[in-house]
């Protein structure tokens, strides 16, 4: 039931090797190109942010581990373009047709880029789901951490925080539920909270008893503790 992207708390990754604050935004030219192709393709409107995250998460564990960051993006994008029938497998192997594409009218034009990026895509929505928890209330996260609608589907409860008891810190309003949205099952908005956990609740050997981790968690991931 686990997926390879869910790596919070994992051992064995070694040092971080931070680059300086003034390092180039894109270490290689193709990094910027990969980001731009991915964003531009997203503006064709055939998927949402949850779908595209899930496409990267579904890379095979071997590919996920060996691909660099933007290789994951471009490979996830290629898979998604075929899955959503924007391209065919023949298109990718360059045997595809050059006929006009039905989605061509949706192409993001250069002069529309600034407006499109500035517009953003807010995730808060009105919801009929009543707020169940108060600030300061103790809650327990679902265990196991898993999508309850689609087996192996997208979810945003990391394994390291599953079955853990924390405290509601903040209510963010009602937001699109990724577990539903990623799979074309509707936006299903519900209350979203910041939940704070003591490090000693999450780790066998916390660095400091006073340290904490906060996660943003949807109401359906939580139950009263």
């Amino acid at each position: 039931m686990t997926r390879v992207h869910d790596m919070g708390g994992r051992f064995g990754d070694g040092p971080i090797n931070p680059e300086p604050n003034d390092a180039p935004v894109f270490a290689e030219d193709w990094h910027g190109r990969a980001l731009a192709v991915t964003l531009a393709a997203g503006f064709l409107g055939q998927w949402n942010i949850d779908t595209s995250r899930h496409a990267r998460e579904r890379l095979s564990p071997k590919d996920y581990a060996r691909f660099s960051y933007y290789e994951k993006w471009i490979s996830g994008l290629a898979d998604l373009l075929v899955e959503k029938a924007v391209l065919t497998r023949e298109d990718l192997s360059e045997a595809g047709s050059n006929d006009p594409h039905p989605l061509a009218a949706r192409m993001l034009k250069a002069e529309a880029v600034a407006t499109a990026l500035a517009k953003g895509g807010p995730a808060d929505r009105p919801s009929d789901v009543p707020v169940a928890f108060e600030i300061g209330q103790q809650v327990r996260t679902a265990h196991p951490a898993a999508n309850r609608k689609v087996d192996g589907g997208h979810t945003r409860l990391p394994i390291y925080a599953s079955g853990a008891t924390g405290r509601i810190l903040r209510l963010h309003g009602t937001h699109v539920l990724p577990d539903s949205s990623a799979h074309g099952l509707g936006e299903a908005p519900e209350p979203l909270y910041a939940v704070v956990f003591s490090a000693s609740e999450l780790w066998a050997d916390p660095e400091n008893q006073r340290d904490e981790v906060v996660l943003d968690l949807w109401q359906s991931y939580l139950e009263p503790a």
């Binding site: 992207h5 869910d6 790596m7 919070g8 708390g9 994992r10 051992f11 990754d13 971080i16 931070p18 604050n21 935004v25 894109f26 193709w30 190109r33 980001l35 731009a36 192709v37 531009a40 890379l59 095979s60 590919d63 660099s68 960051y69 290789e71 471009i74 490979s75 290629a78 898979d79 373009l81 075929v82 899955e83 924007v86 391209l87 497998r89 990718l92 050059n98 594409h101 061509a104 192409m107 034009k109 250069a110 880029v113 600034a114 500035a118 517009k119 953003g120 995730a123 689609v150 192996g152 963010h172 979203l192 910041a194 780790w203 660095e207 340290d211 981790v213 906060v214 943003d216 968690l217």
Partner: protein, 204 residues
């Protein structure tokens, strides 16, 4: 349904990453689905227009103006939008304030969520497996690799960006900065200090 297709279509593209990107760009351009000039525009936006200078402006204002800071902590999204900082990957902003008792640090363990309108595109290390895996479990060891050592009296609160909320750390104003104006203060605010893996520069 998730399609766990072991015959992933991406394998049809050239394996070398730069060629892989180029091939997909060429196919999509030929079909009229992307405009190469729009790609140039996107790259230029994040290379030269949107970056940590935006977040630094917010921090400097918060250091100077208690009313601005109060509004920022209360509900940052409209406050930073008033400064022109809104857009993709910054639709819901929360600012978390460092104090002598609490240091804040931001990560996205599941992917690479980051406040683009305030900080631009995340640096490589932020997206690395090592940072994603370790920041939540051993933040103090991670901070030490960035040259930051906190007192045991200062609690660390790590924010794992698991939803569409984007977090910006408001670092402590360094001592010796009394009398500095907004521009001079903004120049002290580093990208890492707003992620929580660094501290602001101290004036020379």
């Amino acid at each position: 349904m998730p399609h766990d297709d072991h015959d992933h279509p991406h394998a049809l593209l050239p394996p070398e990453p730069a060629l892989r990107v180029k091939a997909l760009e060429t196919i999509l351009t030929r079909k009229g689905l992307i405009d190469p000039e729009a790609l140039d525009e996107i790259i230029d936006t994040y290379q030269s227009k949107i970056g940590p200078q935006n977040g630094a402006r917010v921090v400097a204002k918060a250091w100077l103006d208690p009313d601005f800071k109060r509004a920022l902590i209360e509900d940052a999204t409209p406050v930073v939008a008033d400064l022109g900082f809104y857009g993709r990957q910054g639709e819901h902003i929360v600012v978390v304030e460092n104090t002598p008792k609490q240091h804040n640090m931001v990560v996205c363990t599941l992917c690479s969520c980051y406040p683009w309108p305030l900080l631009g595109i995340p640096p490589g290390w932020y997206k690395s497996d090592a940072y994603r895996a370790r920041a939540v479990r051993e933040p103090r060891k991670v901070l030490a690799e960035f040259g930051v050592t906190l007192s045991a009296e200062t609690a660390v609160r790590v924010w794992d960006s698991t939803a569409e909320i984007r977090y910006l750390v408001l670092p402590l104003r360094p001592s010796g900065t009394e009398g500095l104006d907004e521009d001079a203060l903004a120049a002290l605010v580093t990208r890492d200090s707003m992620i929580g893996t660094g501290l602001p520069k101290v004036p020379a």
